[in-house]
């Protein structure tokens, strides 16, 4: 059956509106995922603020107060100086400082290198890693998040891959999805240390609040320790 003239017109109207609405930030899955990672990084910072922290941006060269924030498009070493990548210093009163990073490698329990999309690291550990060109140890990662942006429901392989990664990380690891995936949520519900948060997107405030609450709990625990 051919497409009716009326529906063909709707399709053509949609096509005309599509091109001008496409920005570089959505032109590739990886770009949209990069923005999503920085969004989750922002939620980590928001949770820290709610728990009484002050936030300062710093680049890898030690410059603070930067307003041109530079983030990675693929994971790299925390000590990388080829670009002035930005991280955030999280300062709680009377507690050692923390750093929040996007897209860095850390050393797992097995000493194997893993990538963390978002990681909150003990600052002394991060400084040492930058100075020596080593990997931050996962033991010194307060918590981390694996961030996945999908336009349609992803397969269970994502959950399986995450389980493999998070088992080698010492602390709590979150799988944060922008979309719902019942099968991944079911798979990870069996594991206390590996937490899945679905539908995390500004259009679903309830899911965002749940994740923020989880991040706040991590920081509260840190302040109590």
């Amino acid at each position: 059956m051919p497409i009716s003239p009326q529906n063909m017109q709707l399709l053509n109207d949609l096509n005309s509106a599509l091109g001008p609405a496409v920005a570089p930030s959505v032109s590739a899955a990886s770009a949209e995922n990069d923005v999503f990672e920085v969004y989750i990084f922002g939620l980590v910072l928001e949770a820290a603020r709610r728990e009484g922290a002050t936030i300062t941006y710093q680049d890898v060269h030690g410059n603070t107060g930067v307003t041109n924030l530079i983030f990675r498009t693929s994971p790299s070493y925390i000590s990388t100086t080829t670009q002035a990548y930005t991280h955030a210093i999280i300062s709680f009163p009377n507690k050692p400082e923390l750093e929040a990073h996007v897209g860095i490698y850390v050393a797992g329990k097995s000493n194997v290198q893993h990538e963390c999309d978002v990681a909150v690291v003990d600052r002394a550990e991060a400084q040492s890693a930058r100075a020596t060109g080593s990997l931050p140890r996962s033991l010194r990662v307060l918590f981390s998040a694996e961030c996945k942006f999908y336009s349609s429901t992803p397969g269970i392989h994502l959950g399986r891959g995450f389980l493999g990664l998070s088992k080698d990380l010492s602390r709590v690891c979150y799988l944060v999805l922008n979309i719902s995936s019942t099968s991944i949520e079911r798979l990870l519900s069996q594991h206390l240390k590996h937490r899945c948060r679905e539908r995390v997107h500004p259009i679903d405030q309830h899911s965002v609040d749940l994740l923020l609450h989880s991040f706040c709990s991590e920081f509260r625990e840190y302040k109590r320790s």
Partner: protein, 164 residues
């Protein structure tokens, strides 16, 4: 719109999306379509699965079953999507990837700069040959009405699918 016409519209729309440089959206939708939809089905009704080979995935129980002894047994079956469902999935994906990126970008600016300083966010690859991109609020604001217009077109097409 009939299911057959939805299939035709899907093909044309896929070509438009691909031409707009958004092949990744189609690939992700295609992946979800290939996986099919898992539904909980009482064991007695399991004959309508995609194929017998795929029928039994795992045992599940009815979520609202209160009594263990009388709890009906369910299995998960893979069901194929209809053409209309596929088209709806593609439109939903387009909406999430393009239209809703406005909310995502605005949230990024707000979270990274609560004091509303004029920050600029750059995504810079470590390797020189890779491409990066920049997020700037004025550009996101400029795109907002264009994304809204696209949303209106998507909604109009969705209404046609649901009208049948």
């Amino acid at each position: 719109m009939t299911d057959e016409e939805c299939g035709e519209v899907y093909e044309v729309l896929s070509a438009y999306i691909s031409n707009a440089g958004l092949q990744w959206v189609i690939e992700q939708v295609d992946e979800a379509i290939i996986l099919g939809r898992l539904v909980d089905v009482p064991i007695k009704e399991q004959g309508s699965a995609r194929t017998a080979t795929y029928a039994i995935v795992q045992e599940a129980t009815a979520p609202d079953a209160l009594n263990k002894r009388s709890k009906p047994k369910y299995i998960q079956q893979i069901k194929d999507y209809t053409n209309c469902e596929r088209l709806t999935m593609l439109l939903d994906a387009l909406e999430l990837a393009i239209v809703r990126s406005d909310a995502l970008e605005q949230a990024v600016f707000k979270l990274l700069s609560p004091a509303q300083e004029n920050i600029r966010i750059e995504f810079v690859p470590e390797r020189r040959n890779d491409r990066g991109f920049i997020l700037e609020k004025p550009e996101t604001d400029r795109l907002a009405p264009l994304r809204t217009e696209l949303f209106d077109k998507i909604e109009r097409l969705k209404k046609e699918i649901n009208a049948n």
